[in-house]
Symmetry: C2
């Protein structure tokens, strides 16, 4: 977690979120100015139509209009910046950092690349490893989950059973001349956005229709989309050509497996199915104990029609998924008590449809209000919130949004997305779905394997029934080969009928029955047969477990953490460093690609043994670090470490040689303290593990006076 | 690393390797018995042809033959077991363990599965995570490698450049009636194996031909394989039908990317290309410093024609690859000195062709003998050997085999495979290839991007040349517009010609030249032009870096480690536990899925707080553990932990409640000591990190007396 002292230092300068109220106030102001503009325009028209023309008055009015225009454009900018549904960072500067420091680049860039595929360079790769490590500790180890590692290549029957072959598709249209492909729903959505933006004078009726269509866009099928495209006259956005009718396009990559080409395979679009098809073995491995959770980290693939939003909609990505299996009749979680107090910003279905904001409340309150109806689901929402906090998401830039009925996946009963605020808007990074019993039921049915668990009742259930009890020896002698059809027929009768026959036996000593199979009447006396009351003890029952599935898009989380931790250090008066050197990623130590950078202050051979000693110490104590010995001034090298979010710098200088001390610099505040060599590891470990804050360390050790060359890194934000 | 004390306890019972000498001695004995058999058969034929027939003599001889047959069959078994090219474990029992404890199972088993795809269950998944963690520490962190994470989906131009589209193929034949597919080379190989095995009386000539064909099988193209199939009359092994002609089958899975179906994509068959295409960015990230290494862990895919050998030839697998880039003119490694003493069993090309055994020598010796010619290559071979030792491979079951000229991949200049001995024979687990400059040259050429590095010379190279130096103002006035073609022509002349012209100028004061472009003679005097000697200082040069590539098949390593660590504890007299409970995996702690199992000796609520305290202690100290509270006797639970290779058990019993002590049990010896609760963590940490041996711990703490229920785990092998 970010030390409280350091996060406050940087948060003012970091990409920030706004409140809805501020946004609405500016909007109101903008509206007033636009009304005033309309008045001024009317007035100037009047002036121009006067005879004789008062040139001075027109000129004065024109000046007023120009000034107001400038003002409106400034307020519009301000209004955009205050949009609470966007994170406000400079996208150009931010993307420049990502490329320059080789966080993420398009795959096979030297061959022109292809949309939706990206490679992670060293810093992003290290962040990913740290994030997955934290995920394993927070979920897999903490909850004793059974982690598995299944094939990405999957045979078709699995996805027929899961519903993906039939339903995992988008509606697509083609440019009739160039064959360029577009997602039909996105085209309609974009058309509407453009109309709403460009035509502020739309009739209220039209605007309302647009809003309604956009809200329900997921409800339209191919025919519905075709109608909209025709009605709005939507054309290919790149050529203006006509568009084809909408047709479904399955998002799974397919490839034949084996040399015959006959075994149809797909690249999995989610890792979950690998867990479902192994359910029996997992249950067995868990000693047949329910409930339990299984987890998997792995690649998934989706052949997106038009990938965009940079890293947020890609064709290959890492998922970390949990499938928690439970008896739907026993939806409890033993550790729910421990997380009931966790506060979560809930954005319920009702909130959304009524245009309200998310409401923050505890898990306990959400359960009381019935916003959440599954205890296990509630437990995982709390755990996801705790995880995201540890990763260093910005407060105010996280919410849990409930899916609307029309956007739920075909398998889901309820779903809450953990969304993070980015410069692209709110983005889903974790889906926490209640898949109910859908998956295991489908796979049971399709594979003809019973994927069930067994529940022993606390005490057996007693079931009464009316038995058919022939006196075998006697009845056999009388009925001979007819015995079997007679007993079968009697057994098939409902309990009431059997009771009736017993009453008749009791009263008359005999019964006469017509057995359909024999087509004759059979007479039975009370010494041959009876229909007594009996009891069944039912010890337990088999059931299809339900599933709660938290599913993490690892690449999306990484991207959002980079945006959330990114800020630009305000330019300093006395330095002439260029702006690129002032980027900082305030990643928490647990996520940062390296915890420490080791910097000899100058190129000085006397420093070398000190650097070597530091390297050994850090390695032995498992603290990941980089050494930067480039022949550049220390300020530039601090800036390079800030660029990739290294939280602490250890600088070797003359004091290291004379007094066996080093300087430790904190990234966000740029403050430095002098620490004896033999205390470096304990100071760093305490800071990294958040056992001590930077403020505490500062009180413990003398501050390092900064020289001119440190300036670029000097603390400016307080 | 395995504690020396424990490995000796188990190594006698573990799957063992034999010496070539023992194998040959038994072979000799077998040969003698077979000769004797031939004699006996001759003798009985003679007896049968006698007139009158001596029935008693025939009967006696028949008995002799029967006895000899039994003896031969026993010796044959013994001979097979002594085969030094196989690891001798019971495959049935071993595979039963893998499935029963959910190490590895066929993917989508409930749908019948498909060859070559496997899922890892919890224990194998944990082993994989540990192995990759060790790999990262041993290679990436130790060598400051730049780790990247690239797309598996790759566009076609990358694999056209790499040569995979054209050359990454196998020759395949089809059953003409059923269309079943086979690898042509494998069919021929199997045919030869069967012939050599079944027909011990093959003529020496035929046998020699078979051996030769098998050795050179990789040299045959489609036509050559067709001829062999025709010559030997090879038919479909499953139906006996005729086979089609051989045709090439590319082993890459292909799938179109994007909705148009026009962008051809492949699933990468190796991760290396992702690193090569990012070379420029990597070099930039490394501050343009050479040499450097980049690393990548990721999935790779090969559409094997007929996957077999269980986990050893699969269609989807995890690779961990290193690409070390260097200037081929400066093939040195600063840390070679530190590994020169490492002993490696080298199986050179010459050893193989001359039928010799591998020879163990140090890296230094191998370089002196010129078995290894690249210093960087030698360094990595040493590092791979050190890594495999840490993973716990059996001594004697590892060798480094040089590729024969005909088996080298199309890009390789030299290649040494690290091979491990398994029940399937020797298996390549790491390929350490010298790819020379192949990759970057190809990608430079195909992408039109110069993938080069720059080398600054220690001192500039001085290059002399003869300049053309006109006196510009004067010559311009005289030649006017002809000036340019004249100077161009003179500049294009070779240095000798220019020297000749200067001599002429010196002697006669003028030269007359014929300029082809002007088609006239031009006269120049010595005041207009001169041809002096000048020098160029060349500061450095651009070059295509060479590549040394150690490439690790992670799944294969895991499988081999399981075989190497597997043994069966000898049955005990006083227990009636079934044989399945006696399996042990003597994995070293660094690889074992969990370091510790916590076991309450009985179901006793008094033990619960102790177990909870242990869990906290272990978690806080980062020691991975499982708790086994199943309602089974402690012996069965020890056996369950042995099954998956957990090296230490901590048992909670009455002593834990009364004296605050626990029992620590060592897996391989089954010995137990009593340790105070507050020393548990330090004892375990010392054992896990190999800071102390089990022998040392035993001397420090009192031994625990074992009760009857412990018996199944009691030490038997010493």
């Amino acid at each position: 977690m970010i030390n409280s002292s350091t996060s406050s230092a940087s948060s003012k300068a970091r990409g920030k979120t706004s409140t809805k109220e501020a946004y609405e106030q500016i909007g109101k102001k903008l509206h007033e100015k636009k009304l005033l503009m309309a008045t001024l325009k009317d007035e100037i028209t009047v002036l121009k139509n006067q005879n004789p023309i008062d040139k001075d008055a027109i000129k004065k009015k024109g000046k007023e209009i120009d000034d107001l225009n400038t003002e409106i454009s400034q307020i519009t900018k301000e209004w955009n910046r205050a949009n609470p549904d966007k994170l406000h960072i400079d996208p150009e500067e931010f993307n420049e950092l990502l490329t320059r420091r080789f966080f993420v680049v398009p795959s096979f860039e030297i061959y022109g690349g292809v949309a939706g595929l990206y490679d992670y360079g060293p810093p992003a790769c290290a962040i990913k490893a740290n994030l997955l490590d934290l995920w394993r500790k927070h979920f897999v180890i903490e909850e004793n989950m059974l982690e598995v590692d299944c094939s990405s290549l999957t045979v078709e029957p699995v996805f027929i059973a899961s519903g993906h072959v039939q339903r995992f598709a988008d509606w697509m249209v083609k440019d009739v001349l160039t064959n360029e492909c577009f997602r039909a729903d996105k085209l309609v959505g974009e058309f509407i956005d453009t109309q709403l933006e460009k035509n502020p004078n739309l009739s209220q009726e039209t605007a309302e229709e647009y809003h309604l269509v956009k809200k329900k866009i997921d409800d339209y099928d191919g025919k519905g989309l075709d109608e909209l495209i025709k009605k709005y006259g939507i054309k290919s956005p790149t050529t203006g050509n006509e568009l084809s009718e909408a047709y479904p396009f399955n998002l799974m990559f397919s490839t034949p497996i084996g040399p015959t080409g006959k075994v149809k395979g797909y690249l999995r679009p989610e890792t979950a199915q690998g867990i479902f098809v192994n359910f029996k073995r997992l249950l067995e491995y868990n000693g047949k104990q329910m409930p339990f959770a299984s987890a998997q980290i792995g690649q998934a693939f989706r052949n997106e029609i038009s990938p965009r939003s940079g890293l947020l909609r890609v064709r290959e990505f890492t998922l970390a998924e949990i499938e928690h299996f439970l008896n739907p009749e026993r939806d409890v979680h033993p550790k729910l008590e421990q997380v009931k107090h966790i506060r979560v910003p809930f954005f319920s279905r009702e909130n959304q449809t009524q245009g309200l904001s998310p409401i923050e409340m505890t898990i306990e309150e959400a359960l009381e209000k019935k916003w959440l109806t599954s205890f296990t689901h509630a437990y995982y929402i709390a755990r996801v919130k705790m995880f995201m906090d540890q990763c260093g998401v910005l407060p105010g830039a996280i919410r849990f949004r409930q899916h609307l009925a029309n956007e739920m996946a075909h398998y889901a009963r309820d779903c809450w997305d953990c969304e993070l605020l980015t410069s692209y808007g709110w983005i889903e990074v974790v889906g926490i779905a209640n898949r109910s019993c859908y998956d295991l039921e489908r796979h049971s049915e399709h594979s003809k394997n019973e994927l069930v668990a067994y529940e022993t009742f606390d005490k057996p259930i007693i079931e009464e029934y009316i038995a058919v009890e022939p006196v075998k020896q006697k009845i056999g002698k009388i009925l001979k080969k007819d015995q079997e059809p007679v007993i079968e027929y009697l057994t098939s009768l409902p309990d009431e009928k059997k009771l009736e026959l017993q009453r008749e036996l009791d009263q008359t000593g005999k019964i006469t029955i017509r057995v359909p199979e024999l087509d004759r009447d059979v007479e039975l006396t009370s010494d041959l047969i009876s229909f007594p009351k009996r009891e069944n003890k039912i010890q337990g029952t088999h059931y299809n477990p339900a599933v709660i599935e938290p599913s993490f898009g690892i690449g999306r989380i990484i991207y959002c953490l980079l945006e959330h931790s990114y800020w630009v250090r305000p330019k300093q008066e006395h330095t002439d460093e260029d702006k690129l050197q002032r980027c900082v990623l305030s990643l928490p130590p647990v996520i940062a690609p390296y915890k420490v950078v080791v910097l000899p202050k100058l190129q000085n051979s006397e420093y070398e043994p000190v650097v070597a000693k530091l390297q050994k110490l850090l390695s032995r104590n498992g603290i990941s670090y980089r050494v930067d010995t480039a022949n550049q001034n220390i300020g530039k090298r601090y800036a390079r470490a800030d660029d990739i979010g290294i939280p602490f710098a250890v600088t070797v200088d003359d004091g290291s040689v004379s007094d066996d001390t080093v300087t430790i610099r904190e990234r966000d505040s740029c403050e430095q303290v002098i620490v004896p060599m033999n205390e470096v590891v304990s100071v760093l470990t305490n800071l990294i593990d958040s056992n001590k804050t930077w403020e505490e360390i500062k009180q413990q050790y003398p501050e390092q006076k900064q020289t001119a060359s440190d300036k670029v890194g000097k603390k400016q934000v307080k």
